[in-house]
Symmetry: none
Subunit: 550 residues, 2 copies
């Protein structure tokens, strides 16, 4: 038995409250989804908003999918026009993708009250539109919107809508549980009936309004559905769509359905987290399989038993989905993790050496403060160098200050002026500058660059390509801790750095300094000055070890 995966994060997912993806984000997201091994990627609904049209235009140029197929989504033609005249159908074809997915109504209520047409005319719209598009595209999928509500209301009519799509030549029909309120045993019986009544393969699309989307999807698969539609992390309208991040491991690990490879499954947590980063959503810590708490053990009885045999309180091996066990009250975990991350950066750490223990302790301390190294490899490398006493000090900050002033001008418009003043010392020379910027961080960035480029000219090539801010602590309002992630590039390589503080300027400063120093360390640039001074630890109480520069 096989199941094909169809992702609609970029279309239905973006209908979720608070989910907004730019065109560039959508391109990155599509690559992530492909990396996971998903076959179909629904990119958007050209015609419903300008961003989705821009996405398909951009995709033609810059999105080269190797194993996945890009799909465009749209509606059946409007009533009263021919397919050739329908603007929306034309926009679907203009997307120039190998797969089109169109939705049509299967519930009389919708034909009569939403479209305001007769139930017969609705069937004509479906058959017409499917036939017209199928003649012009490789693959045509029909999304049977509200199929289950329609089926409960009038089974014969709901089936007639599917048969209209089948006559039109649809390659596959996806049954949509659009309102998200169905119960698994009811849905399963309906799918079983449909699977016997149409000849084309059946797909399933569910929503989570009853906290049953995953169960409904699995029930449909048991009843004969061979395509599963969902979104990464369950993004979507209202309570969200079916969460592929929970469905995929259930199919593969529990039902033995080989929908993707073991290696792809081990990327599940990475893809889930990266998607949250792109969408700027706080990760759901209790998220099944991939959440921070998913394999976290707190109760004394649990911790004791898990230590003896992990099967006692874990339904799967966390590593299978790229997650890890966490013991909340002790420090059993982590060493393997550090060793693997260090290896990624080309460092070999002896698990028993005191340095390794020092690094482990450092990671624990920084992670407790909100650091996250998964997306900040450059800071991680510098942190290891620092723990080993091998991080050079390229400059000394004497003082940096920023002042921002809000006042009303003569027209009573609010005006904002921001100025940074910086003083640094390199090789005994003191350099000072003032810089204005859009905001405090921008002004500091401009000032620091103006000073330091003189001493280290190779930094001129470094460009900050992305800057992200995430507020960490819930409920602390403007006193919250923030994490700043900066992505930098010198044209050849891209690297990421991180800073954490209750002060956004402080957090940004740490990430900016790491971004510049990483470039110098990587290029093996020697610090200016006769005496090589070690950079002081950013953590109070942790003195750098004696050691020579590598």
């Amino acid at each position: 038995m096989t199941v094909i995966l169809y992702d609609t994060t970029l279309r239905d997912g973006t209908q979720g409250e608070g989910v907004q993806l730019s065109v560039a984000d959508k391109i990155k997201a599509a690559r992530l989804i492909e990396e996971l091994g998903i076959r179909y990627i629904e990119g958007g609904w050209p015609g419903s908003n300008p961003r989705d049209e821009q996405f398909f235009a951009a995709a033609k140029v810059s999105l080269k999918l190797a194993s996945a197929k890009l799909c465009a989504f749209g509606a059946t033609r409007r009533a009263g026009v021919r397919c050739e005249q329908d603007k929306n159908l034309a926009m679907l074809l203009a997307a120039e993708v190998p797969v089109l997915t169109i939705f049509g109504k299967c519930w009389k209520l919708h034909a009569l009250e939403a479209l305001c047409i007769s139930s017969e005319e609705n069937l004509e719209l479906i058959e017409d539109s499917v036939r017209y598009l199928k003649a012009r595209v490789d693959e045509l999928i029909f999304d049977a919107e509200h199929f289950f509500d329609g089926y409960a209301d009038d089974p014969a009519y709901a089936l007639a809508a599917l048969q209209a799509a089948e006559r039109g030549g649809a390659d596959l029909i996806t049954l949509c549980e659009t309102n998200g309120g169905a119960l698994p045993h009811v849905l399963e019986a309906a799918v079983r009936h449909v699977a016997g009544a149409v000849r084309v393969p059946i797909g399933i699309h569910t929503h989570n309004d009853g906290e049953l989307a995953v169960a409904n999807t699995l029930a449909a698969v048991r009843a004969g559905a061979t395509l599963v539609q969902g979104t990464i992390n369950g993004y979507g309208e209202r309570c969200g769509n079916a969460n592929l991040v929970s469905i995929i491991p259930a199919l593969k690990l529990k039902l033995g359905i080989d929908c993707l490879s073991d290696a792809q499954l081990a990327r599940l947590r990475h893809v889930s987290r990266s998607m949250d980063e792109l969408a700027n959503r706080t990760p759901w810590s209790q998220q099944p399989y991939v959440g921070q708490s998913a394999f976290a053990h707190k109760g004394g009885v649990h911790v004791d038993a898990v230590k003896k045999n992990s099967r006692t309180y874990e339904h799967i091996e966390p590593e299978a989905v790229g997650n890890e066990r966490r013991i909340l009250v002790s420090d059993l975990s982590g060493r393997t993790n550090v060793e693997l991350k260090a290896r990624e950066l080309g460092l070999t750490l002896d698990p028993k050496a005191p340095e390794t223990r020092a690094i482990l302790a450092r990671i624990k301390e920084l992670e407790n403060r909100g650091y996250q190294f998964e997306t900040a490899g450059a800071t991680f490398k510098l942190m290891i160098d620092e723990a080993l006493g091998q991080r050079p000090r390229y400059f000394k900050l004497r003082e940096a200050s920023v002042s921002a002033c809000i006042h009303e001008d003569h027209a009573e418009q609010e005006r904002f002026d921001t100025t940074a003043t910086l003083e640094i010392e390199v090789d005994g020379q003191v350099a000072r500058t003032r810089a204005e910027g859009n905001g405090p961080v921008h002004a500091l960035d401009k000032g620091l660059r103006a000073l330091i480029d003189k001493f280290y000219p190779s930094l001129k090539s470094v460009r900050l390509v992305d800057y992200k801010v995430r507020v960490l602590s819930d409920g602390a309002g403007t006193g919250s801790v923030v994490r700043v992630l900066i992505q930098s590039s010198d044209g050849d390589e891209v690297w990421d750095t991180v800073g954490v503080s209750p002060n956004i300027i402080h957090a940004s400063w740490d990430a900016m300094v790491d971004a510049l120093e990483y470039k110098l360390v990587r290029d093996k640039v020697a610090p200016r000055g006769a005496e090589v001074e070690q950079r002081r630890s950013r953590i109070s109480g942790l003195a750098p070890r004696e050691g020579s520069l590598s």
Copy 2:
């Protein structure tokens, strides 16, 4: 058919990461759970931690439950001691509650590897402990821990454990899906088998590690379970316990099982929110039935149809569970969204009036600059008032400035000092203050609150509950535009405001001012001062219309 509800928020719920309840919180929480109409309230595990003992001591004095029964939870006796000598059983009895729930092992693996006893001795522990306690308490429930894993491993042994409890005199046996990884069809078959093999009533307790806890609970009820165990909002170890907030409406509205009254069901959202408040957890906005987004419509097609007939995209009436419909305004939306959103805020807009067109134009302009109103209803309301020339001006900002200074102290640690200076004018009086904060925004927030509370004392109840920052423009590094979302509460209501600027201080300032002014506008507080001045538009070139205050 009837189903009895059993809540374990105060015991298993508090094993969830980040869930912490004081004794006083637990007393309040128990009252909330009773208010919802739940029959059994598991208060804690005396003997496992001092807080739970204190809770039962406090409950004797101050918790008078009318309709619910308080339960204490614990384990079977230890191996090698008699029940009379077992300290944990003694502590259970000392709780002096009408119901005791004890758990025992049903999976050989656990007997052998966790308890390190023979499988026969485990059966003796169960029977002994149940008999001993049942003789000393009104009601005794046996929690069959890991029943489903044990049943998959060795069905005869798992059943033997249940039968030992039955022989001991247990009033009810709850089958526990402890590791949370079971699939509904597998679990359902096991429950059906048990229901035919024991005479006592059966309960069900599931976990959400597969995102299937609600489905597994409903499957067990269909197979014959008559007691349902779960927690409010699904708090609990790892991915949480079965979420009663989703199970209850499914039982009542979808399966027609009368587990509580209509009036109690209508308190569901209130109980869910209040519990989050007690546990200091950010509410899950996509939460089924009760979440902020559960009945929020964003896509244009959806909004259009819901306006015609809400059944088109809603599986239940939101009011049945105390929730409400929300129309989101975004760049996906058209005139209907704006009109309905305004109606929600108590404003009637004529779709053809020039004001409506002005508001639409304003939304488009602000959204182009990065504003997002779908999650910022309060700013949206103020923006409409402003466009109609009806937004009062509560204070005039004369000047605000922030200075942040980074320098190294004597130990060469980086130090950060941040100070805000503010001068505002209200009713001809000038007030000035200086405030220090964790960061620039925190300092400004503290300063503004210190000044403005004096003039408008009702603002003292306003608390900032969440603060989010999103960097909007890709590739502009630290010069990017940022969007700040602030969520505020006065204890009764929660509202959201937004500010956008390349300067994070500016963006935060706008969102903070909106948060305070929204509270005053909503409470119909008149601005101080003889002359009521209109607030100037934040948008250059858009002059406020003449108009009187409503």
